[in-house]
Symmetry: C2
Subunit: 276 residues, 2 copies
């Protein structure tokens, strides 16, 4: 593990670390924000999963989350969105391959050797983070767009592992979204039954824990109708009796300006669960 | 004038506009944040001048200033750092030419036709902003590094025009800094007397208005000793009896993580003067 950035920020430190990810077979970077409270006590961790094309940099430079994490005493961990590097397979387009890991474990031969972001985010990264930073046992997870899909599916698939989950503009029903269909076909193959294990709208019916889902979605988001489809997740939650708070925000788009506007409310939501 | 970006943000709107700048002989972009208050009343304007290599994007995406501007009802205007384009002269290196306008009016033949960022920021841009947005008469000015130099010198040279001024990590004595010496030699020539009109430390002695200077500076800033030299400005202010609050922040560096940590305090400082 090598620290490649370290900046004082809101009384704590914003760092970027590099390490060899055995799950992914490549070098990976992640951002970690250590609030001032971490100098004297263990702090809960909020994992943030970013969207298509993002690296570990987008959230840490654009969301303005550190201010709120410092207020509430949360550690923030923001990984990259896929394996990277010359030995890692890739594809044309921003929505498949490097920068587009979709937080699943690929099964198709081209991708299965490296594209295991689910195992990385659920197992390898938390083990590394817990070994190197003053973390408590409480974890939350959040994310944006493809990363919102990641946060929701990971929380739904791992009852008891996360105390809180939220998402901004998630790909809420990827099996019914062009982005999801392209990625799932490539990573998982054409059997749509296999896709259900990676689709929040499909997973809700079988969820073994009623962890409340908090989602913010802008109504001026250009991807809302063709790609994101939170209304399908809302119906699935109503059918399953799964608690969902879906807030439609008037005038907001898909950008980090939207995330920055409401990340404080999300961090307060996670802090209430993680420190409550 | 053409609006090329518009995003809802903290209840207001973050926009980016493009226009033909007659002062600079090129197309220029600037960011403008309109707080929610601007929908119903005129609001004071805080101008933000960015540092070397920056465009209009850095401040609007990384500083997290919109939250505070929305709280206080300030419009934020963030121009690019130099003229740009194929017809505009440039130089090798990040610290001269495009991206490095130094907020002065160049006099050397190579640069004088386009590099007039002082006139642009002091005259052309405010006239444009006041014509198109619901601005009140009160203006403040702030900036970072090269832009901190710009904010301080512009305020000192224009008594009565700005009600408040502040800076992060400014090039406080550019005539005694390698960055400043390189730029002033190129833009103004070798006569160091001519440089004094563009150097905050030199200007303080003749300032006709005792506008208080607020400066934040990190003590872990790699550029502090070789380039920034706020201690020279402090001495000049003591000699001249000019009010200066210079706050040295332990552990902070030159990055936007530093700006994001304290921009709230600067915006509160400006709001007190502009709305008080």
């Amino acid at each position: 593990m090598e620290r490649i950035e370290s900046h004082a920020c809101h009384g704590g430190r914003q760092e970027v670390w590099s390490h060899t990810a055995t799950t992914l077979g490549c070098t990976m970077r992640f951002g970690v924000y250590l609030p001032p409270q971490a100098e004297r006590e263990d702090c809960p961790v909020l994992y943030w999963l970013s969207g298509l094309t993002c690296t570990e940099q987008n959230f840490i430079t654009k969301a303005g989350a550190q201010r709120y994490a410092a207020e509430h005493g949360l550690i923030l961990v923001a990984p990259d969105t896929s394996p990277r590097g010359d030995g890692v397979p890739d594809a044309e387009g921003y929505d498949l391959g490097q920068g587009a890991g979709f937080y699943l474990n690929a099964t198709r031969p081209k991708w299965a050797g490296h594209f295991r972001m689910y195992d990385y985010v659920v197992e390898e990264l938390p083990a590394l983070v817990d070994a190197h930073f003053p973390t408590g046992s409480a974890r939350g997870i959040s994310g944006h767009s493809m990363g919102g899909h990641g946060a929701l599916t990971i929380a739904l698939k791992n009852p008891g592992r996360y105390r809180s989950v939220s998402a901004f503009s998630p790909i809420a029903a990827p099996s019914q979204s062009p982005w999801g269909e392209k990625a799932f076909s490539a990573y998982l193959g054409d059997d749509r039954e296999a896709w259900k294990a990676w689709d929040a709208t499909a997973l809700v019916a079988g969820a073994r824990e009623r962890l409340p889902l908090l989602i913010d979605q802008g109504d001026a988001d250009e991807f809302l109708v063709p790609q994101l489809k939170p209304e399908l997740l809302r119906i699935a939650c109503e059918v399953a009796g799964h608690p969902l708070q879906l807030r439609i925000r008037s005038g907001y788009d898909h950008s980090y300006y939207f995330i920055a506007s409401f990340i404080g409310e999300h961090i307060a939501h996670h802090a209430a669960a993680l420190r409550g």
